[in-house]
Amino acid sequence: MIDVLEEQETGTKLESKIPEGPLADKWTKHKFNLKLVNPANKRKYEIIVVGTGLAGASAAATLAELGYNVKAFCFQDSPRRAHSIAAQGGINAAKNYQNDGDSVFRLFYDTIKGGDYRAREANVHRLAEVSVSIIDQCVAQGVPFAREYGGALANRSFGGAQVSRTFYARGQTGQQLLLGAYSALSRQVANGKVKLFPRTEMLDLVVEGGKARGIITRNLITGKIEAHSAHAVLLCTGGYGNVFYLSTNAMGSNTTAIWRAHKKGALFGNPCFTQIHPTCIPVKGNYQSKLTLMSESLRNDGRVWVPKTKEMAEKVRKGELKAKDIKEEDRDYFLERRYPSFGNLVPRDVASRNAKMVCDEGRGVAPTGLAVYLDFADAIKRDGRKVIEAKYGNLFEMYEKIVDDDPYETPMKIYPAVHYTMGGLWVDYNLMTNIPGLYALGEANFSDHGANRLGASALMQGLADGYFVIPYTLGDYLATIGPADKLPVDHAVFKEAENGVKETINRMLSIKGEKTAEELHRQLGHIMWEYCGMARNEEGLIKARKLIQELKEEFWSNLRITGTDQELNPALEQASRVADFIELGALMVEDALNRNESCGGHFREEYSTEDGEARRDDEHYTYVAAWQYKGPNQPEKLHKENLVFETVKLTQRSYK
C-alpha cells in the first residue's frame, strides 16, 4: 500500500513510497521494479556525497564502483576521521551464527519494539534483511572482527537483546568499519572515480525547478565559497546531538548541512527524538567541552546505585563519606529495585531517566550532584579481578585517565549524556527527501530507529543505507531524469545561493559583539538539556521556546568572531554551526510540545504512569512528525505521516 501524507493547504502529495506486498518481499520486489541506469551512461552522472562517515563513505565508494562520478565532502582533514569512528560496541546482523534463534524477522521485531513503534515497518525490515550482507562485505574488506579460536566470527549480546547478534572489533568496531569503508573510498579515489574535498563544509543546498541541483561549500583553509553541481545530492552528515552543547558527539558534528537543506524545503522528521546514553563520564566543570561514553557493556557486570538518603549523599558530595564505607543496607540499587526482571540491563532510555530521577531527589554522588555509582565490587568478588580486567581493562584504563580514580577500588561515577539523534531529514523508502534528487542517509535521516535506537544498530543502518540501499534507489531517480538534467555552476541559482552564503558570513562577522559562539552554544546547551532533555514538560518547553528566541536575538546582535573569512577560522565555523543549532533547538522544542505522549527517548512527564513509566498514545501519535520550514521567524508547519503496522502488534514496553 502507498502511504500518502497530504499537504492540506496546497494539495501536493508526499509519499513514503513503501512498496506493496508482504513485508518480507517488499525490498526484493522493489529492487526489481526500480529503473536501472545503463552501464555506459553511469559515467555521465555526477553525485555529491556530503559527509564521509559510515553512510557517506560506503555510499560514495559503492556508487563510484558502479561507475558514477562522485564528489565526496567532509569538514575534517581526512574522510577517515568522521565520528562513526568513535562507535565502540558493535554492529548487529541477523546471521544467527550462534544458533540461538535469531532471524531477520527477530532483528526487525526487536528494532521496531525498541524504537517504541515509531518507525516504518518496511524500512526496518529491509534494514534487518541487508544486515547480513553488511557483515560479509566488511569481512571481505579486511575488517578484523573478533573471532573464535576455530576462526569463526564471534558475537556478543548487546543492549538487552536476547540473542547474540552483535559483531565487534574490540571496543573499536566503529573505527574498523569506517576504515573499511574509507579504504573502499580510497580505492575509488585512486581510480579517479571519487574526488575528495576534505576540510570543506557544505553551507547551502541549491534547489531549482523543485530538484536538488548541487551545493555551496566553504573551503575551510582558504575561506573560498564554491559551487558544485550534480545530478543528485546525498547528505550523510550524521546527527545533531551537539545542539545540547555537551554530548558524546565529536566537537565538529553539526546540523548545518541538513538544517540548510531543511530551510530549502526538505522536511525534518521527528526532531525531538534524542537518545540519552546512560553510561557516560559525568560533567566535572564549566570548562567541559565534551562527554565521553563508557561502553554499555559495563552494565552487564556493574551494579548501579546511590545512597538511600539525601543526607548521606550530601556527605559523599562533600567528600566526608566514601562509597565503600556506605553499608549495604544504606545503598539503593534503584534499577534492580524497580525493574526486578531486567535490573541493570534495562534499555538506555529507562536507565537514563532513572539516574536523573534519583539525582533530582538529591541523591547524586558527584560534587555537582549529577552522578550515580556503577559498582564492580561484587563482580570482582564473584569472578576475580583478572576476569573483570580481561573484559573491561581498556575501559577502566580510559576512565582512570580521564577521572583519575581507580574503578577497581572505587565505584565508577556515571551519568547520562546525549548520544544519538533518531530524528533527521524526512525520507521516503528510497531514502529520498521530499526534494527530488536530495537524499539523506545514516543518522542524518529519521528513518529506522523510531523513538529509540537499540545498541549496535547505528553502524548497521549507516552501512545498510550506503552499501545496499542507495546504489539501487538512486539509479531509479537518475534513470528518470536522464544525464542532461544538470545545471552549470554559473547558473543564476548557484550565484544566488553563493551570495546568500557570503551574506550570512559577512553578517556574522560584522556584529562585533561581546559573546563568542562557544559561550552562546553553551547557553543553548543549558536550555536544551534543562527543558528538552531526558524529561520534558509543557511548562518547561514553553519556557525554552522563549529562551531560545532570546538567545537567537542575542546571537545576531552580540556575537563576536575574531579573524576574517579568508582564512582558516574555527571561530567562524563554530558560529555558523551554532546559528543553525539555535534554530533547530527551537524546532525540537516545538516537536516535543506537539507530541503529547511519552515514547522512547521522548519522555513527557505529564504522560507517564503513576510509578513514573512512559505512557505512549498510539491512538493520536502513531505518526512521523515531518516539519516544513516556512521562512525566518515563522512557525514551521507540521505534516503527519501515519505509521501503519501490518505485521507487528503494538504493546507497551515493560521491563519490570
Partner: protein
C-alpha cells in the same frame, strides 16, 4: 594551577611563524589539555586577539585529528595517549609548556598548530585496501581466520593516522603508519591476493611524499597513542623485499 604556554603561531603556510608566550591561571587539573586551550582561546577572543588554531574533533582519542607536539614529545608526556585525552594533572603548577605543530616536510603547517596530513591519505590510496566491490563478498564465515591472526591484524588496524609516529621520528619517517596498514592486510587472507602490489605501491608513495627512512630508533612505537609495535615495520620490510624480489613488476 597556573601555567605558562609557549605556542607556535603562524598565520598561514606562506608566513613565517614564531613562538608566543601566554600565561594562564586557575586551570583545573581535571581539564583536558585541549580544554585548557579552549580557555586560552576564549580569553584571546575576548581580548580581540585571534585564537590559536588547532586540530581536534572526537576528543576521545580515536579520530586521530589532534596533533600537538607538547614539551618535546608528540601528544605530550603521557604514553599511549592522544592530546585530547591528556589531562592537566600531568603537569605541575607553574610549569612552562612548549607547544608546537608536527614538523615534517610532508606535513606543511596550515596555520598555528594545524598541519596538512593529506600525505597519509595518499599513502592509503596507493594500495591500503582490498579490491572488493560491494555485493561480491562470500558469506563471512566461509573464510575461517584463527583468533590470533585476527588479533594481530587488529593490533595493526587500530592506527588512527594521527601522525605522531612521523612527528616523533628523527627522520620524520612514516614507516609505522605505512607498516600498520600493510601489516593489517598482509596477515589476513583477504589481503593476500594483492599483498605484493600493495607493499610496493604504498612504499613508493611514502617515499614520494618526502618522509624519511626508518632508523629503528623505536620512538614511533613509544609515542604511538595506540602502541602499535615495531613488529609491523619488520613485516613491511619483509613484504616489500619479498615483493621486489618476486613480483612480476619489472
Amino acid at each position: 594551577m597556573d601555567v605558562t604556554l609557549k605556542v607556535w603561531r603562524q598565520k598561514n603556510s606562506q608566513t613565517p611563524g614564531k613562538m608566543v608566550e601566554y600565561k594562564l591561571s586557575d586551570i583545573s587539573p581535571d581539564m583536558s589539555f585541549l580544554e585548557m586551550f579552549d580557555v586560552l582561546n576564549e580569553q584571546l577572543a575576548h581580548k580581540g586577539d585571534e585564537p590559536v588554531a588547532f586540530d581536534h574533533d572526537c576528543r576521545e582519542g580515536i579520530c586521530g585529528m589532534c596533533s600537538m607536539y607538547i614539551n618535546g614529545r608528540p601528544h605530550g608526556p603521557q604514553t599511549g595517549t592522544t592530546t585530547c585525552q591528556l589531562h592537566m594533572r600531568n603537569f605541575n603548577d607553574g610549569d612552562t609548556i612548549v607547544v608546537e605543530p608536527w614538523r615534517a616536510l610532508a606535513f606543511p603547517v596550515i596555520k598555528d598548530l594545524v598541519v596538512d596530513r593529506d600525505a597519509l591519505d595518499r599513502i592509503v590510496q596507493a594500495g591500503g585496501y582490498v579490491s572488493v566491490n560491494t555485493g561480491s563478498a562470500p558469506d563471512a564465515n566461509e573464510m575461517l581466520i584463527p583468533r590470533e591472526i585476527a588479533e594481530e591484524a587488529m593490533d595493526a588496524a587500530q592506527c588512527i593516522a594521527c601522525g605522531a609516529c612521523v612527528a616523533a621520528c628523527k627522520n620524520a619517517s612514516a614507516m609505522l603508519f605505512t607498516a600498520a596498514k600493510v601489516s593489517h592486510l598482509a596477515v589476513l587472507p583477504q589481503g593476500k591476493a594483492e599483498h605484493k602490489l600493495r607493499a610496493e605501491r604504498m612504499v613508493a608513495q611514502m617515499d614520494a611524499e618526502g618522509f624519511g627512512a626508518c632508523s629503528f630508533t623505536g620512538a614511533c612505537a613509544v609515542e604511538c597513542p595506540k602502541s602499535i609495535s615495531l613488529d609491523h615495520i619488520a613485516r613491511l620490510n619483509r613484504e616489500y623485499l619479498g615483493a621486489k624480489l618476486t613480483s612480476n613488476n619489472v
